[in-house]
Every structure is written in C-alpha cells, then in structure tokens.
C-alpha cells in the first residue's frame, strides 16, 4: 500500500513540476533564482575578491577591463561586491519569509477556525500590525536588537506576517464551511486533527503562492534597512552598496556603475520570486483564479 501511495504522490508531484515547466513565467522566475543562487554560493569561490581590500583600484573608477563594473568610493571592485552581496539578500528573503509564513498561518488558521472571541482578539492584533508603520517599526526593532543579519531576519519576519494571517483566515473561513470538515467531525475527528489534516492542506497552496510574494517584500525590506544604515556592516549586501554609494555622493558625480547594478540585481531577484509566486498560484489554485 505504501509503495502505491508513494507512487501516486510522486505522480502528483511530477504533474506539478511539469506544469511549472510548461509556464514561461515560472521558467523565467526559476532561471533568475537559479542564477542568483549560483551567484551567491558558487560565485565567491570563483571570483577573487576581498571585501576588506581597499584601494585595489582608484576611487570611483569607471568600468574597465580590470574592473568590469568599475570601482566604489574606496577603490573596491563593484562586481566583486555585487557577487558577495547576493548571499545576504537570498538568506533574508528565504528565512524572514519562513518566519512570517509560520506566524501568519498559525494566527490566521486559529483565528478562522475557532472564531468568536479568539478570532476577534487575534484579528485586532493583526490589524494593529497592519497599521503600525512597518518600515519605521523595523528600523526601531533593528536599532533595539542590533543590526546583525540574524536580527534583521527576525525583525522582518515578525513585522510582516499580518497580511498572511488575513489571507489564511479568509481561506480558513471558506474551507471550514465545506462539507468534508463536517464529515470529519461526523466520524469523530478532533479540532487539532481537522486543522492539521483538513484545513491546513487546503489553505497552504494559497499561503504558499502568496509567500513567494512576501519574500519579495522581505528582500526589499532588507535592502532598505541597509540603505538607511541599519544593515549588518560586516556583511556586504546590495543595500549596503547603495548606502555607501549615496553617502559617498556617487549620485552627484554620475557614477552609475556604482549604484545601478545593485538596484538592477534587486529588481531581478524580486521579479524572480514574483514570477514564481504567480505561477504557483496559477497551478495550485486554478479554481480560485478562473483564468
């Protein structure tokens, strides 16, 4: 039985992957993400660059053969910085999203499933997190905790779950009304069993496709925090590059090679996540989006 079941699960997964590969959008998204993952984890091994090595070239030197993307205000190689900075964005994007997703899903499903006072309380807290000025809150929390990478991950995670919670709640409310939940009750299933086996599997696809979009927000948040000087100074990141570019006046001297590439990388990475999220949504939730 177990084997046949595994086979069936495998068949379902295969269908999903096939659908993923059929859609152009998801292919582009995947390609972008694969590119950046390679850039972040394999790139530094192949590309020789030292973050601490100041004055490898002149200050704000335009692109040349030696420095394909020119140099920064301290004479460091911009391309090297770019490659080394990719990791930060990826780590934050994935981990912060995970935290946000877990909090949001737990709050949303409990709220929707139990209803009544629990729902009223959880939703008001969620509302509060929605109206609290989100970037400033992150800034303050980062200032409070100290701006190490892990703290930033936590800060972004705990401030960005409110939207997910709302989504999970709405979906739970609709799943709860479906007859298979009552069927489970009629054969004697308990609350935990129903939430875990009946509600979660039906809420998850929606959460999941939304979460890929949340990761976009997470990446942008990290970048912004770094830009505003609340980033982890010990780790190169694209936001940090933009911070230095702005502080060093690269803008007023028109040193495009310093501030355009990190921005383009951020846009591409976020687009990659967004494309993938959109494709997941189309494949996992066909009934919700009729076309």
């Amino acid at each position: 039985m177990e084997n046949a079941k595994k086979l069936a699960l495998h068949r379902k997964r295969k269908q999903f992957v096939e659908a993923l590969f059929r859609s152009k959008m998801s292919l582009v998204g995947l390609a972008i993400l694969v590119f950046f993952v390679l850039l972040a984890f394999v790139g530094p091994l192949l590309y020789d660059y030292d973050h601490q090595e100041y004055g490898a070239g002149e200050m704000l030197e335009p692109p040349s053969k030696a420095f394909l993307l020119g140099t920064d205000d301290l004479g460091r190689d911009v391309l090297g910085e770019l490659i080394h900075g990719a990791k930060t964005s990826l780590i934050v994007g994935v981990l912060a999203t995970l935290i946000s997703m877990v909090i949001g899903t737990v709050v949303g499903i409990s709220s929707g499933y139990f209803g009544g006072r629990i729902d009223a309380f959880l939703m008001r807290v969620t509302d509060a997190f929605l109206v609290l000025p989100w970037l400033p809150l992150m800034l303050v929390l980062a200032a409070l905790l100290g701006s190490s990478l892990w703290n930033i991950v936590v800060v972004i995670g705990v401030t960005s779950w409110a939207g997910t919670a709302r989504l999970a709640r709405a979906q739970t409310l609709s799943v709860k009304e479906r007859q298979f939940v009552e069927r489970a009750r009629s054969i004697g299933a308990g609350h935990v069993y129903i939430m875990r086996k009946k509600i979660l599997p039906n809420v998850f696809p929606l959460i999941f496709s939304n979460t890929v979009l949340v990761s976009a927000v997470a990446i942008l948040s990290e970048t912004t925090l770094s830009f505003l000087g609340m980033g982890d100074v010990l780790r190169p990141s694209w936001g940090m590059m933009l911070h230095y570019a702005f502080e060093a006046g690269a803008v007023s001297v028109g040193a495009y090679w310093f501030f355009v590439p990190p921005g383009v990388c951020i846009i591409l990475l976020v687009l990659g996540f967004a494309f993938l999220g959109h494709s997941f949504d189309e494949i996992l939730n066909p009934a919700l989006r009729r076309r």
């Binding site: 008001r124 109206v131 609290l132 970037l135 400033p136 303050v140 409070l144 830009f227 921005g263």
Partner: protein, 322 residues
C-alpha cells in the same frame, strides 16, 4: 450601510488603536538607554538629582501606572518632550507634517488614478501586447526599492539633465515675491519625489485592478448586461468597474503603511523636510519620545484611513451590513 456597521467599525478601530498604544508604549520602554540619563544629558548628575528627575517624570512608579499616566497625557495632547529638539514632540511633528502630507497626497492621487486606468486597460485587453506591457511595467516598479528609484531619478534628471532641484522643499535663501512664486518653486521641488513615490505604488494598484476586473468580467451579471445590448464600454464602466473597484479601496488603506515607508525613503533621498526624514533623524539621535510620537501619529493616520475606507466601502457596496 447603517449605524450598526458604523458602530462596529468605530469599535474595531478603537481597539486597534488601543493595541497600538500598548505596543507603542512598551516598545519604547525596552529600548536601550536609560531615559533619565537621556533627559539629563549631564554626566555629572548626582544620585539625588537623578532620583528627583525620576520622581518628576514618574519613572519610579509601576509600569501600569506609568502607562495610565502616559494615556492621560496623550488625551491632553501631551506627547512628551523631544530629547533632541528640546521642544514638545507635538510641535516638532506639527512643523513637519505639512511637507509629508503634500508629498503623500500628490503621489497617492497620481497612483490611484493611473493605477486604476492601467489596470482597466490591461484587463479589457487581456492577452494583448498592451496587457503584457502594463503587467511588465507594474511588476518591475513593484520590484523596485523606492530609494533606488529616487537615486536614479536624481542622477538622471537633476545631475545629468539639470531639470529639477535635487534637495529640499523650497529653494533655500530665496524670498518669494508672492504666493504664486512660492507655489511654482514648491511644484518644481515636489515633482520628482512625488513621481518616485507614485511609480513604486502604482504597479500594485494596477495589478489588483486588473485581476479584480477580470474576476468581475466573468460574472453572470456582465453577461446579462451584454445580453441587454449595452456597448462594451458601458458594460465595463457601468457594471464591471463599480464592482471591481471595491477591493482597491481596502488595498489603498492598507497600503498607507507602505506609503509611509516609501515616504521615509523618498524624504531621505530628496532631503524632503517631512515626517519620514524626521523619523530617520530621531532614530539616529535616539530621540525616543519623538519617535514614539511619530509612531503614534502615523498609526493613528493609518487607522483613520482604514476607517475611512471601511465607510467608503459600506457606502459603495450595498451588501455590507455588518
């Protein structure tokens, strides 16, 4: 909409505000740095002076009492004193509020108008190149860090082309001949920051309008309207859009939090003398009372906007009763 709905929403908003107040109060209690020494700013203060200040500010009382005092003072309009400016917080904020409101309003109006228009065009011409172009534009702007767009705009329009002034709200050191001159100068300074802010939020609106309109267009009542012999334009404008814009209203209100985040970045990049920049400065100076005040004011504005959106929703959607 009825009074029932109204009351419920007022009640919800009040509770949300209260939760925000609690978070706001205790968040700043646990911030590093001893508030007493912050107030004194005097390394040589002796213990008795410290104790005096403590009891003066009520720091020796239990937290709950302090919280009650805090609430009482808030109601009176006393948001505390700014460490840095040595002025009442409310005055500091008041002096900067106008700049932010101008910026946010200008951006929001452009974004709403443009977002709905683009979303409508994309939905109506689904699958055509126009749709793809609008979708692409929306996605790219959505993926853009606000401050980065600001930087690029400055580098290109101000530095490269020299079209606009880079910093501030007015040209400094100039005495304006009259109101008109002043307004023109303001408009020149406002243009780029407002466009930056508008561009980064317009994508979200247009995407939501598009998908919401597509959903509505597959409803039966659209087929009914077509069967009645209405032209395509009338079907869309009279039947589809009024239904499709409902979700947009909620999104706009929720989006206000993101507007603040965007404003903070834009104000930093363009040296716009608004609340966002003030907040950034307060953060750097560890001016907690000021930060706390800004938090509260901003949260209050967002709650108010959400409330307004709920009211508008209730007005536009006759089905809303609770």
């Amino acid at each position: 909409m009825n009074s029932e709905y109204l009351l419920r929403k007022i009640f919800h908003s009040a509770i949300t505000l209260f939760i925000v107040l609690i978070i706001n109060y205790f968040l700043f209690r646990i911030m590093p740095g001893d508030p007493v020494s912050m107030i004194m700013r005097n390394p040589n203060a002796n213990p008795s002076m410290l104790a005096q200040v403590k009891s003066l500010y009520g720091f020796d009382k239990p937290q709950l009492v302090q919280f009650a005092v805090y609430l009482r003072e808030l109601v009176k309009g006393n948001f505390g004193m700014s460490f840095f400016y040595r002025q009442p917080v409310i005055d500091v904020i008041g002096s900067r509020l106008f700049a932010t409101l101008v910026l946010a309003f200008a951006a929001e109006i452009v974004a709403i108008f443009l977002g709905i228009l683009l979303g409508k065009i994309a939905a109506v011409r689904r699958g055509e190149p126009v749709d793809a172009a609008i979708l692409g534009f929306s996605l790219v702007t959505y993926a853009m860090p606000t401050f980065w767009l600001g930087i690029v705009f400055i580098a290109f329009f101000c530095v490269h082309l020299g079209l606009f002034p880079t910093v501030g709200m007015y040209t400094s050191g100039v005495t304006f001949a009259g109101f008109a001159d002043k307004a023109v100068d303001l408009a020149k300074h406002l243009f780029l920051p407002a466009v930056t802010l508008a561009v980064v939020i317009v994508g979200g609106y247009s995407m939501i309008m598009r998908s919401s309109l597509l959903d509505v267009l597959s409803e039966d009542y659209i087929t009914t309207a077509r069967a009645k012999g209405l032209s395509r334009r009338d079907v869309i404008n009279r039947h589809a859009v009024p239904n499709a814009r409902l979700p947009i209203i909620t999104i706009i209100a929720i989006n206000l939090g993101f507007m603040i985040a965007g404003a903070l970045q834009v104000e930093t990049v363009f040296s716009w003398p608004g609340i966002g920049r003030l907040m950034y400065e307060a953060l750097k100076a560890r001016d907690y009372p000021l930060l706390q005040g800004i938090f509260l004011i901003v949260s209050f504005c967002v709650i108010l906007a959400n409330f307004a959106a709920d009211i508008m929703y209730g007005y536009l959607d006759p089905r809303i009763r609770y």
